[in-house]
Structure formats: structure tokens, C-alpha cells
Amino acid sequence: MSGFRLDRGGRVDRTRPIGFSFDGATYRGFAGDTLASALLANGVMLFGRSFKYHRPRGLLGAGSEEPNALISVSRGPGRHTPNQRATAIEIYEGLTATSQNRWPSLKTDLGAINDRLGMFLPAGFYNKTFMWPRSFWDKLYEPLIRRAAGLGEAPSEEDPDHYGATYAHCDLLIVGAGPAGIDAALEASGTAKRVILIDEQDEPGGGALDDPALWSWLSESLKDLAAAPNVTMLSRTTAFGYYHDNFIGAVERLTDHSAEIGSGPREKLWRIRAAEVILAQGAIERPLVFAGNDVPGVMLASAARTYLHRYAVAVGRSVAVMAAQDSGWRDAFAHARAGVNIAAIVEVRETVTPALLDEAQALGIAVQLGHSVIEVHGRHAVKDVTTARNDGTAVNRLTCDALLMAGGWTPSVHLWSHSKGTLAWDEALGAYVPDRANENVRCVGACSGTWNFGSGMVIDRLPTPRNQAKIKAFVDFQNDVTAKDIDLAVREGFKSIEHIKRYTTTGMATDQGKTSNLNGLQIASKALGRHATEVGLTTFRPPYTPQTFGALAGHAQGALFQPIRKTPIDGWAEENGAVFELVAQWRRARYFPQAGEDMHAAVNRECRAVRSAVGIFDASTLGKIEVVGPDAAEFLNRMYTNPWKALEPGRCRYGLLLREDGFITDDGVSARLARDRFHLTTTTGGAARVLNMMEDYLQTEWPELDVWLTSTTEQWAVIALQGPLARQVLEPLVEGIDLSPEAFPHMAIREGTICGVPTRLFRVSFTGELGFEINVPAAYGRALWERLMDVGAAFGITPYGTEAMHVLRAEKGFVIVGQDTDGTVTPDDAGLDWAVGKKKSDFVGKRSLSRPDIVAEGRKQLVGLLTDDPAVVLEEGAQIVADPDQPIPMTMIGHVTSAYWSEALGRSIALALVAGGRQRMGEVLYVPMPGTVISTKVSGTVFYDPEGARLNG
């Protein structure tokens, strides 16, 4: 037992005791305590185990810089959170916390064997070992290394919490509500500016919270800010990243601190765009580097003062101070005044200002000038320490149960650096301070390098008579990086600070080097004999402190992850047992199984219905673009491969669209409604891409054309009626359109009404049967579908899905862009040369079609494949070879793009891209599958009704 609660003082609410548990033992603290302060008040010094050596560790700090005291908090199923800093966990009734990275227990951890073996595990040791015998790597070494990984346990169940997010805009964003930040906010509170003040702690005040003299000022100021209508104050909110153009990411923690989780979001992501930013993030004290500086009970002097004043907790009953800075003396005085015994102030400097000496004397504090701590005794807690003159003489023991370190200060320039502001080296501070801004931002207070902590000496490590190469003097506490590891890295030729960081892993722990970076830098610069500025500084990366995945994902969770688009008819399909497939953002009915049917049976039945009676299909997802204006035909003529100018109003045409590199990107049937109006259709997945591509050409290449494009994909619900009886179903419902073959031939469009609503009625077929595609305003899609089902019942009308549609079109050899083509296929490859206007001087992609490798022999061409065994359906994606007996790697001459069982033909059919395919008609090719080879014959692509008689049913 070392730390204890003082009888008086502090900002904790002594009227509200709170019970919590740590590693199974129960403790009491007060409202306002962190887990760290509450445990400390209970005399707990041991908080965790280090990553590599599993050394016992206590608290180093009191805030978000804490590297040692990492804790797991569990609050019910799915609510396990590892690696939280005890210094940032607010206690609440019932808090259940456990230590990490130890087994079987925190006090006796078998992993600590690594500490004994430490000499054999220097930085980068794994690069040098585990290579022999080679076979051991996969089986033994690597699994062993991986098992040693990690700190806490990952969650094992889905997180039941949800997370919020918002955008926010302000004229002034202030990060950090310490004295400097609050002053800046007060200054702006009188103005018309919209101000947001962000602070990561539960209570605003920053450094002022550690200084009772400022408490009245603090409460007054906060009252004023609360009263200011233009100031928004966000506590428990961490500004974690500074992005382009003053865009700051911050996360607000809403429920982790309270016993009641409630139903609200756990955390909220703030995406803030600020006209101006003021960074007031303060400075972090630096540890001193010496043997035993990581023993529980050795901590930052400023942290001890935080515990003392803010939480009324003394970190020990007899506290020694190891100072290189005046601030350490002040912290010692603060303790003495609060009645905590100061064993001594050990000061590495030979002289300090008389004022300090006088005050020490007045408080009866023993002082050792020109001395350093050279050893700390005790494993789980400080027992006493050995000090010596800096020349190694006058070695003596000093009894104490806590040791405070005052090694200097490091301005928190993380966000400044995210913003690409430059840094300048300040020799006196031995630190980098903000220099030139890259955004509209400035730093105020300690993070700008200005503070009243007094003067001091910056020292890379304390002098010691012992062999520096043999002692463990820690730089990065969590990652167990010692000064000698950095020496070793330099010795092995790692001369850039980035190399040293990566080789030793210093600064790469979850604290991101907040307390270690500058010590590491100074040690490296000494070892290299180069000035710190020549060694450089590792880049600061977002986030400032670790941030929850869920918070960063914001709303995009569960049903809100990504929209799933449904057609107006989707509801009917769902109610009627459709099985769906996802296509681009849409979900489409794939087939409509009836009782006992599998996909095959259902699809066969649907196909039969279309071929023998009439099928009904929801084609609403097809992209639609209305192209309107005097130059509409001219525009389409330039975009598509085929001619459009001569197309008569009332007629439709198949359009093929290439990228400028000559490869097929989209296709669709389009109709001319009037001389200056076209109704285009695109593939389901291509709608947005095609519209953007057309806008691009229209706006930037041919701005002189008087034509405009409007997406009408969602204006229309589209119902395809296909089959010999389609006309009979339709006829009684349509008004103002003569459906007779003479008046309404294949590939024509008519406008009229159906069941009283306006329709654009296409006579088109993607099945080879007599067919219509009925476009009606989307709101009426479902009602019309249901009406058609009623009327069609007498004709055996059958709803079919995308799978049957694929089979039916394949029987006719109609390609599906994206399945039978893959972005490397030209019109000729796909057998669509007929759709390329030979007399056209230009169209998008034309020039590319004459490039040497595009006109070369032996390109893959789309052909049909008929397996020798008609019952065998090839697998889509299967590869094709000419010689199945060749050794691997085989020469593949093509692959199967589509393959189905054709109910109409009573056999399997397939489409394939085959090298020189059209010269191979009748040739036997092979599809080697695991354990078997399927032989198949090359055929044309039209398997059913080649002369197209059925179209004119």
C-alpha cells in the first residue's frame, strides 16, 4: 500500500462513493475519479504488464499520454473493450476492469520470463533468428511469435451499441479547454463567430484542474462560456485528426462513463469544418531515462500533482523527486504543502535558482544537487532508490515509495502536424514547436512552446556509474524500448529516426510516443553524433488517441450500411416468395420457387411458361435516360457505334456503347419518341456510369450541341410481358395503341394509356418471343403488375426472374454486357460487328478498334458451346483448352461466359470467348475440370429459333 486519499481537497465528490472492481477485487472511489486515481487512492500501484518483457508497470501519467496502465473493461455481452487507459476511464457504480497481457495473474505473470531473457531479445531480434531449420518457421516459430502478440483480448461478440455522426460548421474551432483554450473562447464569446470548444476530458479546465489557485477563475469562465449563445462546448470529445481545408474529425464519448448505458449512441463522430482553428492542446511532461525508471511508483511529476490536486490522492507516503526541471521542484513543493512527505529532491543540474533552494529549505526538503537516481529497488512497487553524484561518487540509498520524474516538456503538436504545419527545433526546450502554418490555424499556450514551468535541463539519459549497455533504462514504456536498444539500432546502421522507430518500435505503441518520442530522438542524436534536427522527427499520424471503429463508421451500420435499392414491384415479389440476387445497388427477383421447387425446377418452369404461354418480368432496374433537344440524334450518333439519325420516331434500336479505348462498356435498346426526344435504356449496373460518361462528352467535347440528358430510371416501372400469348393479355388493358403486328411491329414504341395511366409501350424482346415492355409511372408499377397477373391468370401468366431471363436470352445468343463481355472485349469479339456503323466517320471508341492488337488474328471471340453429353452443364468461368493432355501450365484458349440448362432444347448450352472462335465452328474443345475433362463442340451463338420466327407471334 502506497498511494492514499487525502482528507481534504480535490475535485472528486466525496458525497458520492462509487464501488467498482479491478481483477476481481472490489474497491471504492468517488464520483469524479478515474480508475487510475481511485485505485491509487486504494494503494494499488501495479496496473499492468509491458508488451515485450511483461514487466510490472504502474502509472506513468494521469491523462491520455499514459503508456502503461492499459485496462480491459467489460460491461455485458459484446461490450468488452481492451486497451483502455486507466487514466481516462471514469469510474461508475459496477465498473468491471481487468488487467491485460499477463498469465495467470497480474502479480505472477509467467510471461515475465522474457524479462529475464531480455538480453537475448534486443531490438529486431526476430530478423536475426527463427530461420533454421526452415521447416520450423511455418509450424513452430511463426505460430509462437503470433501467440505472443497483442495486449488485451479482442471482443468476441457483436457490439450491441450503436454510434452517431454529424457534420458541423463553425467560424472558430478551439481544441483544448485548458487556460489558453478557455481564454481564446472567452475572447470569441463576445463576437458573432460560431465557436466550438472541444476538450477530451470529462471536465474542462486542462492544467487549471491541477491548480486550486485557478479553480475560481475556472468556474467563472465556464459559467460565462455556458452563457455565451455562440459557444458550443464539447467535453469527453477528442479531436483526433486534422484533415484538408480545416476539416477536423472528433469523437464524443457519450455512455462509457455512466452506469446507465441507455438507448442513445455510445459515441458520436463530429466532422467539423472550421474557418479558423486554435490549437490549445498543452504539453506533456517527459520521463527521465535511467535504470528502473519503469518500476511501479515511478511516474511523471506533473501526473503526481494531478492526482494530488484534482483527485486528492497522494501517490506515496514518502515521495522522492528526480528533477531536471524547475517544474519538478514546484510539484515537490505542492506535495509538501499538502502534507505529503518529500524524501528528497534529486536534481541532475549542479545549480538551480536560489529561490527554489530557499523554498525547499523552508519546507524542510532534503536536496541532492548534481545527483541522479541510478537504480530503483522493488519490483511491484518502489521500495527505495539509489542515487549518486553525476560523477558516480557518493552513492547512497534513499527510502521512498514513489519517485517523480521531471524531465522536461513536449508541446502537443500532433494536430498541428496533421495539418502539415511545419515544426522548428527549440534548443532551450529540447523540443519541436509549431513554426509555419499550412492551414488557417494557430497554436496557443503550452502547445506553442510558451509556458511558465520555469527553466531546466534537457538530458537524453541520466548519468550513471553503471554500464549503460547492461541496464534497462526505458524510453518507450509500453513497447519496452530501452536506451540501449536505440544505441543498438544506431550501431547496426539505422540512422534515420524513421528507421530507428521501426527497428526498435519506439513510439509505435498505443500512446504513439507521446512520452517517448523526444527522449528517443535525443538518445539517437547523441549516438549518431548528429544534431536532433539532422536526425529528424517521425511523422505524427491520425488519430491523436485511438478511436473506435464503430464511431468512425458512424451511422453506416446494419440497415444503414449501404442503401439497397428496390423496385416498385419488389414488394409483390417478396410477398410471393421470390429468391433475390443483388445486382449493383439493386436487389432483383432471381426466381419464384413454388412449393418444393429448387432453383432449377423453378427456372425450367418459368422458361417453359415464356416459351409456351406468357411470362411477366420486372425490368424496372434497367437504366433509363431521356435525351431531348434538336441535336439529340446527332449526339447519340457520336456516342453509339451504330447510326441513329435515320431512326424514325416510333421505332427502337439496339445501341452499343464503347469506352474510348474501344472496349464494350454498355448496351441497351433505345426508342425515338419524337425527332428531338429519345428514351434510352442502359444495363442495370451501367446507368450512372453511362449518364456520367455522356454528360462528360456533351459538356466538355461537344458543348455546342443542343441536347440535354435526364435520368428517368426511377420515373418508370418497367414490366416485360413475353411469350406467344403476351398480346392477348395486354390488349384489353391498353387504350390508344393498336397492338396488331402491322400497326405495332417488333422494335417499335407507342405511347398511350394502360388501365388509365400513361404508358410508353415498347415492342421488344430479350427472350426471342413476342414481347412487350410496359413503362408506367413508377407509383403505378405494382398495381399494374397485379392487374396483369389477374388478367393473365387465364393465359397461364407466370412471373419469372433474372435467372430465367438469362437462360432465355442465352438460347437466343443475346449477350449480357459484364457477363459475356468483361471490359476487354470489342464489338467484333462479341460478334456484335453488325451493330457498328461501317460508314460512320467517328464515334466514341472507333479509333481504338483499328489498333494493331485489336485487329490482330486470334482474338477471343464469342461462340456457342455444345457439350458432347447434353446433360452436362458447363461451369461459368471454366477454362477451355484445345489439348486436354498437355502438362500444367496449360495453354488456355478461352473461357465459358454463360452456361445453362436449356429447357426448350432439352440440353445444356453455353456461350464462351474462344481464341479465333468463329474459325473453329464444329471443332471439339475441352474443359478440364478437377478429376474430369468435358469435351464440347463449338457452335453458333443462336441456339433457339435461329430464323426468329417466334418474334412475330
Partner: protein, 90 residues
């Protein structure tokens, strides 16, 4: 997320409203068939990709819908100017 001034809306708007559209001032040749394969491939594929001033196209796709040009420093990502399509290179 960049803040982009749309020269048509004459407003600074969030990057997520915009779609980047590649290097600017690469006009489609009036008569592609007259070009050699070499020149055609240059038009299709060669880009300046500079460290520094970059002339590029953006589309305010979730705004006014217009394509426009911009000059941006590719090292700092700061916009020097944005201007309407068809205006001379800045």
C-alpha cells in the same frame, strides 16, 4: 475532405459532392482516324502527373452537375483556382 469552389455555384462545397475527372485540357482530337496509333495512345493514356501545379477536371456531380477545371498543387492539395469548362487554361 477537400473544400472545392464550384465556379458555377460560386460556392465552396464539400468534396463528397464532386467527382474527380482526370487531367484537364486534353481535348478529344477532331478527327481521330487521322491520328497514328502512337498519337492516339498519347491522347488516351499519357498524363502529366506533376508534383505541383496540376490542371484537372472535376464535376459537381451532386450539385449543379457541371464539369469544370481546376488548378491544384498536388504536393499540398491546395486549389489555386477553379474555372468554368471552356475557359482558357490558367
Amino acid at each position: 475532405m477537400l473544400l472545392i469552389h464550384c465556379p458555377y455555384c460560386d460556392e465552396q462545397r464539400a468534396e463528397i459532392e464532386f467527382a474527380y475527372a482526370g487531367e484537364a485540357h486534353i481535348a478529344r482530337p477532331p478527327d481521330p482516324s487521322a491520328l497514328s496509333d502512337e498519337d492516339w495512345s498519347r491522347y488516351l493514356f499519357i498524363r502529366s502527373n506533376p508534383r505541383g501545379r496540376h490542371h484537372e477536371r472535376w464535376r459537381h456531380i451532386h450539385g449543379c452537375g457541371r464539369f469544370f477545371n481546376a488548378v491544384r498543387d498536388t504536393v499540398t492539395d491546395t486549389f489555386e483556382a477553379t474555372y468554368k469548362a471552356g475557359e482558357p487554361r490558367r
